[in-house]
């Protein structure tokens, strides 16, 4: 019996609108609650660790840890010329104390390593000065230091110490981008000899692009064939795509070593056919060629599967219609068929490119020296040279590049459309 002015009520007397909003809210919360455990899990095991990496790439605790009083005092210095003797006095005392205490993570060696990142060759300067620091009893302290080593006359040394004493720094990003501070504290390009990271990053992007292109060229005809064959045959041929997809990465890398090494099957076969002589065997592995071949093989299924799933939805009658209206095969293909496969191409190329940029295992095993990618350098800094902050900075740059492409992928394709097998 509701008239038009009073709201419609449910059985328990609440307005229908409110009841609906309440129910929807409950359903939304229910759905959220189902995903909540995993979101928390991913935050703990994945997001926080990556956050830690980001933090490490700017965090710069060494100066504050090793020479705490100096670190606080030196921030007042204006950076002109050489610092006043009062700063130097605190520095000498802090250094002597650090030398005496030898606490883990607060040793003179830590500071020496940190400064050495920015001024190569200054490691021994700091350690040897620290050894003699306790003998410096009175000022002028700066002259005493210069007596120990001429390098203390260099203002760049003190500027570096001042930078090493700040809690947060951009130094590691500068190093990761082949830049450094000059003697006046301005940012300049590093010497040509020390420019490694930008060339490697460029090479990684370029190699990934080449690999993606090769994957596309190889995947397109195969996907087309698979999508046009009858279901039964294409399922059978699909095994040839899925078996490599399911085989361990290391197995496939090993297989390529067996195939491509100088005494390997491909070389043997070519010698057997007489294409090359026995002494003219080609070096195809432990270099860039090996990396490209192995990575194309490993990533090819990631291109074939999305292409195939798009091509399967294109009715063959479209091509027949174009041809019956007089289009040549090439014209019909470029104007009718190809444009419809673009979503699959976008999905496949972006996926392969994203996966290729971050590849580590295959280049590490078959890359030799010139097939190494940015990931290998990051792993090197974390595992062997132990310059963790620089490793973290390089990792953050790589992550930023990948996330840009992931964002594009999300916009163009959507993560919901990822499928396997």
């Amino acid at each position: 019996m509701s008239d038009s002015t009073s709201p419609i009520l449910t059985a328990d007397g609440t307005p229908l609108k409110a009841k609906l909003a309440q129910t929807t809210r409950r359903l939304r919360i229910k759905a959220l609650l189902l995903t909540l455990p995993l979101v928390i899990f991913i935050i703990i095991t994945f997001v926080l660790p990556i956050g830690q990496m980001l933090y490490r790439s700017v965090h710069n605790p060494t100066g504050i840890m090793v020479t705490p009083n100096f670190a606080e005092a030196i921030q007042e210095w204006d950076g002109e010329g050489l610092p006043d003797d009062r700063f130097v006095e605190i520095f000498v005392k802090d250094l002597a104390l650090a030398k005496k205490n030898r606490e883990i993570g607060k040793t003179v060696g830590n500071l020496a390593t940190r400064v050495n990142y920015e001024i190569p060759g200054s490691r021994s300067l700091i350690t040897s000065t620290a050894r003699k620091a306790k003998n410096i009893k009175e000022g002028p302290y700066l002259d005493a230091l210069i007596k120990i080593n001429k390098k203390w006359e260099n203002p760049a040394m003190w500027l570096t110490l001042q930078r090493a004493s700040k809690e947060y720094t951009a130094s590691f990003y500068l190093a990761a981008l082949d830049r450094k501070y000059d003697d006046k504290g301005d940012i300049v390009m590093a010497d040509e000899l020390y420019q490694i990271y930008i060339p490697i990053l460029m090479k990684t992007l370029w190699l990934s692009a080449v690999i993606t292109l090769l994957c596309f060229i190889l995947a397109y005809p195969v996907s087309y064939l698979l999508s046009t064959l009858p279901m039964k045959t294409s399922n059978l041929l699909m095994i040839l795509v899925l078996l490599p997809f399911w085989t361990s990465l290391l197995v496939r890398t090993t297989a390529w070593i067996a195939m491509l090494q100088t005494e390997g099957i491909v070389n043997d076969f070519m010698v057997f056919l007489g294409v090359i002589g026995d002494d003219g065997r080609i070096q195809m592995i432990y270099n860039m060629t090996g990396t490209i071949i192995a990575m194309v093989h490993i990533l090819l299924p990631f291109m074939i599967l999305p292409l195939y799933s798009v091509m399967k939805t294109i009715p063959p009658s479209y091509m027949r219609a174009a041809k019956s209206m007089g289009a040549s095969t090439t014209y019909a293909f470029t104007k009718v068929y190809f444009p419809q496969t673009i979503p699959g191409i976008a999905a496949g190329t972006l996926l392969v490119f994203i996966l290729a940029i971050g590849y580590y295992i295959t280049p590490a095993l078959v890359g030799g020296n010139d097939g190494l990618l940015i990931s290998n350098l990051i792993a090197g800094h974390i595992k062997s040279t132990l310059n963790w902050s620089l490793g973290a900075a390089l990792g953050t740059i790589l992550l930023a590049v990948v996330l840009v492409f992931y964002w594009v992928y999300n916009k163009l394709v959507g993560v919901d459309n990822l499928k396997f097998g």
């Binding site: 609650l33 990556i50 297989a255 992931y406």
Partner: protein, 355 residues
């Protein structure tokens, strides 16, 4: 488009003649077989050209099929080639003269025996051979680690992943796109970055309950890492299964008086089970194949099969690795068949089966 029998086509006879010629020329059975399969397979698939196709069309089609055959050859050869190589009697990565002439003495199982013997205290001992093998053989220990880590991380990934996928596929789910991309991101972010972050985070002392020395160099740390990497696969497969899920079945069940739990176990679960199992298989294989996180997080005691292969390839490359690789290929064939059966079952259940 009448199908002409394979052996009634003129091309077949040309091919057979060429194959015979090549066999006589090279005296090699293998080369002739590869030639016949590579050039014969496209011929076999030539059948469906319409009657009005010109000779150029036919040649074009044949070349297209030949290119496809070569690409398939590129895909499958490396995987098939390691199987005979693993039976090599010599410590080489290539076919010996004896192997090519099918001399039985050129083949042996020594590298398979080596899987069990390598690292044992007394490989030729009589007493306690089995316990020695179980406790000390390097590859056996790696396999035990691999299975232990993979099974536990699969359970974690499947449980959390399925739960989340159930939430994500509900129509009223808020922030679906953002949450999905967050949960899929472990698959997209390069492994080196993930492993670096985990290395920093898990190495912290006094942060984790029960693990005062941090999670790095513990089984639990690696299991968590592998579960994280497997989760995207579970989410993708289970959401895909749920996308064809008829939600009116849930209402029907509720309408007939079933409780939420009954509905889940009697209606939803049987329908999404194939998706869950294939997601679990993906998570399992991801963990079994994962090496970067293990390199960054594991101690020597926690070496897995891929980790052992990685150092094997770098340090002392021997055909034992090929034997291990062959076993892994056999395992992946098994998993692949299982997945295919599940896929068909799922399609049948959802009424999507072709024909």
């Amino acid at each position: 488009m009448k199908k002409i029998a394979f052996f009634k086509r003129p091309g077949t006879w040309v091919l057979l003649a060429l194959t015979l010629g090549i066999f006589l020329l090279t005296q090699s059975f293998g080369v002739a077989l590869v030639f016949f399969l590579t050039f014969g397979a496209p011929l076999y698939f030539m059948e469906d050209l319409p009657a009005y196709a010109t000779t150029m069309d036919k040649i074009g089609k044949y070349i297209f099929l030949l290119i496809c055959a070569l690409i398939f050859l590129f895909l499958i050869t490396p995987i098939l080639i390691i199987i005979p190589l693993s039976f090599n009697a010599e410590p080489y990565f290539t076919f010996t003269e004896g192997m090519l002439s099918l001399d039985p003495s050129a083949y042996s199982l020594r590298w398979y025996a080596d899987i069990f013997r390598f690292g044992m205290l007394e490989p030729d001992g009589v007493t306690n051979w089995w316990s020695d093998m179980w406790d000390n053989a390097t590859w056996v220990r790696a396999a035990r680690n691999s299975f232990f880590i993979a099974i536990l991380s699969t359970i974690i990934a499947t449980f959390f992943g399925t739960l989340a996928a159930l939430g994500l596929s509900r129509p009223e789910m808020p922030y679906r796109a953002a949450i999905t991309s967050l949960l899929i991101s472990p698959m997209i972010v390069p492994l080196v970055i993930t492993a670096t972050g985990m290395f920093f985070f898990y190495s912290q002392k006094d942060l984790f309950p029960f693990f005062p020395d941090g999670l790095a160099k513990t089984y639990f740390g690696i299991i968590l890492a592998h579960a994280t990497l497997g989760i995207p696969f579970v989410i993708i497969t289970v959401t895909a299964t749920l996308s064809g899920f008829d939600r009116s079945l849930i209402r029907a069940s509720q309408g007939l008086g079933a409780s939420g739990t009954t509905t889940f176990f009697k209606v939803i679960m049987p329908l999404i089970l194939p998706g869950m199992i294939s997601g679990a298989l993906f998570a399992f294989i991801t963990s079994m194949d994962e090496v970067v996180a293990v390199i960054f997080l594991a101690d020597v005691d926690q070496r897995t099969i891929p980790r052992q292969m990685f150092s094997g390839i770098r340090e002392q490359i021997s055909p034992t690795i090929l034997a291990v690789a062959t076993i892994l290929v056999v395992i992946s064939v098994g998993l692949l068949s299982m997945l295919e059966i599940l896929r068909r079952r799922s399609e049948r259940l959802r009424g999507l089966a072709p024909q």
